[in-house]
Amino acid sequence: MRLPYELHLAHRNLARHPGHTAAMIGGLGLAVLVMVYIPSTMSSFYNDLIDRSIEQNSAHITIWPMEKSRGQMDHALRNRYGHSTVLAFTDRTFPRHRNLTGRHALSAQASKTSGVVSVASFVKEDATISRGNVNLGAVIEGIEPKQYSRVVNIAGHFPQKRIPKLGPSDIAIGFRMAEKLGIHTGEHIHVATPKTRRLMRVKAIFRSGYYDKDMHHGFVALRTAQRMFGMGNEVSALAVRCRNLEEAGTVSSTLEGRMPNKVRNWMDDNASLLAEIATVNRVTLFINVLVAMVASVGMANVFSMFVFNRQKELAILRAVGASRASLKMILLLEAMFIWVVGTIIGCTLVLGVMAYEQEHPYTVSEETYGIGSYATHPVPEAFVVACALAAVMMVGSALWSGRRAAKLNPAEVIFGR
């Protein structure tokens, strides 16, 4: 065997100070645990949040009716009411055309745009739902289930993970609304729109995990909605799904360039959430760097104590011909050992914590976040970053304490000068 003697000595040194070694391994393991856990838990939480609110509740991109520009609106008002009345109206009076016209052409155009996976039209209007003397304001959404589920992933909210077939007088409502109305599947409710009032059968009760949706939302068939709101063959808007979330920005600006309509993507709709995530990511990174720095200082201190306590031995090695590089190598090998064992322990612990969370997820306020519970998932990047930071810490400590030890004059240490 030609194992370098540096390895042998490193092993002996660690084995001789089990307490010291265990303390360093434990400290490093703990630092790794924290450095993996904090970013993982934050990003898991926000991924869940984004998944719920974007993938499952709204489309990547929505094409709304054209917005009237200020000039056009003035013009329209003047035509209708004469010059004298213009000042009495604000531009909020006619924010946009009520409905989307030419939806088939728009839909075809959107489908052809690269990055677009599917397009669905929908109706979205306000109505009142009542049963007995309980009245609830609700948003009625008219969809073609098959087509719509290709755009927004809502099927999972329904029993059997399928959007039910919606007949002309069927409605699907959220479970909170059902509780509030004291109603079960198969029973009937009244739905009143400005145009009509009709009795509808509750075909299914869904659970979106999104408070507002579960309380104030009802799905009906597209044709039913068009009839209820007197829209003829028009719809409210088009929902567009992109290949992935990240592409939504570029696709929406392409669409905006090609059509006169108002095009909004999920990032516009969730700007405050995204800003919050960006802030949290910054804070998380800052905390991680802080943890790494504190741990580095601690580790470097412990390590230089470790080295200082055997200055004499290192001096003897120098006296019998070991090079400075060899001394550094011994310390480096010790550091590497601590790194390997410490990161394995830290990563194992953090995986254990995450596994525990999968079994016992945190509950959070649904009203606030739209998700009722969440658990930390392992985020590979967090592991890579934490292991790399730990390696830098250990190698840094070893070289820092080794640099001083290697420079010592062996005679001075040996003869105690």
């Binding site: 065997m1 030609r2 194992l3 370098p4 003697y5 042998h8 002996r12 040194n13 084995a15 001789r16 004499k312 031995e313 003897i316 090695l317 006296a319 019998v320 011909g321 070991a322 090079s323 400075r324 060899s326 004059n409 062996p410 005679a411 040996i414 003869f415």
Partner: protein, 238 residues
């Protein structure tokens, strides 16, 4: 000449400047066993440290096999300490967490000999110094005399050109000291190891072929002993 010390001077700075070595000239041939004797504080250790490259001279130079040892670069110096020199210090300098065998094998490992080779050589030497049954013991489990013998074996493992021994018998009793010195005499006679030994007890110079007397940083006498008059007896088992 194996060792040539030329016009060596050593000052120590500090609050009270000291002139410890004054113009030392000394030559040592191969296979010689030189004992250096002098009172405490004479500068013996200082001289030995300079010869062993652990300290630098203020003036003059040290040639070992015609190499000026204080002009070697770091790499060559490491090699030189490892391959050419064997030390036995006034205090025993063993690594406490290595066994006797591992301590002895260490310089051989540093010179990148295989573990097997190094161990075999270390075993031979430990046998030679009479420690066959203590190879797996750590320094803490050995007596002072046994530790010094381990030191001696370690100093010899790379077959050095020159063995420097600075009071190898310090802190040992009379009989044990005698045993160590006799061992040195044996190594010198049988293996032809060149030895420069420092002591301050005249009785311990009985195995040396040459005795140099040191006083106040100067060599005051230098004489060879007649091989017939040496009173070096068989080593005692300590």
């Amino acid at each position: 000449m194996l060792l040539k010390v030329e016009n060596l001077d050593k000052h120590f700075g500090g609050d009270v400047p000291l002139h410890i070595l004054r113009d030392i000239n000394l030559e040592l041939a191969e296979r010689e066993f030189l004992a250096m004797i002098g009172p405490s504080g004479a500068g013996k250790t200082t001289l030995l440290n300079i010869i062993s490259t652990l300290d630098a001279p203020t003036g003059g130079r040290v040639l070992i096999k015609n190499v000026d040892v204080h002009r070697l670069d770091q790499h060559a110096l490491n090699r030189f300490r490892n391959r050419r020199l064997g030390f036995v210090f006034q205090d025993d300098l063993l690594l406490p967490h290595l066994t006797a065998l591992e301590n002895v094998a260490l310089p051989a490992r540093i010179s990148r000999r295989s573990t097997r080779q190094a161990s075999r050589r270390a075993e031979e030497l430990l046998e030679q110094v009479g420690l066959n049954d203590r190879m797996k013991h750590k320094p803490g489990q050995l007596s002072g005399g046994q530790r010094q013998r381990v030191n001696l074996a370690r100093a010899l493992v790379n077959e050095p050109a020159l063995l420097l021994a600075d009071e190898p018998t310090a802190r040992l009793d009379q009989a044990t000291s005698q045993g160590i010195v006799q061992l040195l005499g044996e190594l010198n006679e049988q293996l032809g190891v060149t030895i420069l030994m420092v002591t301050h007890e005249r009785e311990l110079t009985n195995c040396a072929g040459r005795v140099v007397e040191f006083l106040d940083g100067r060599i005051v006498s230098d004489r060879s002993t007649d091989p017939g008059r040496r009173t070096c007896t068989k080593p005692l088992d300590t």
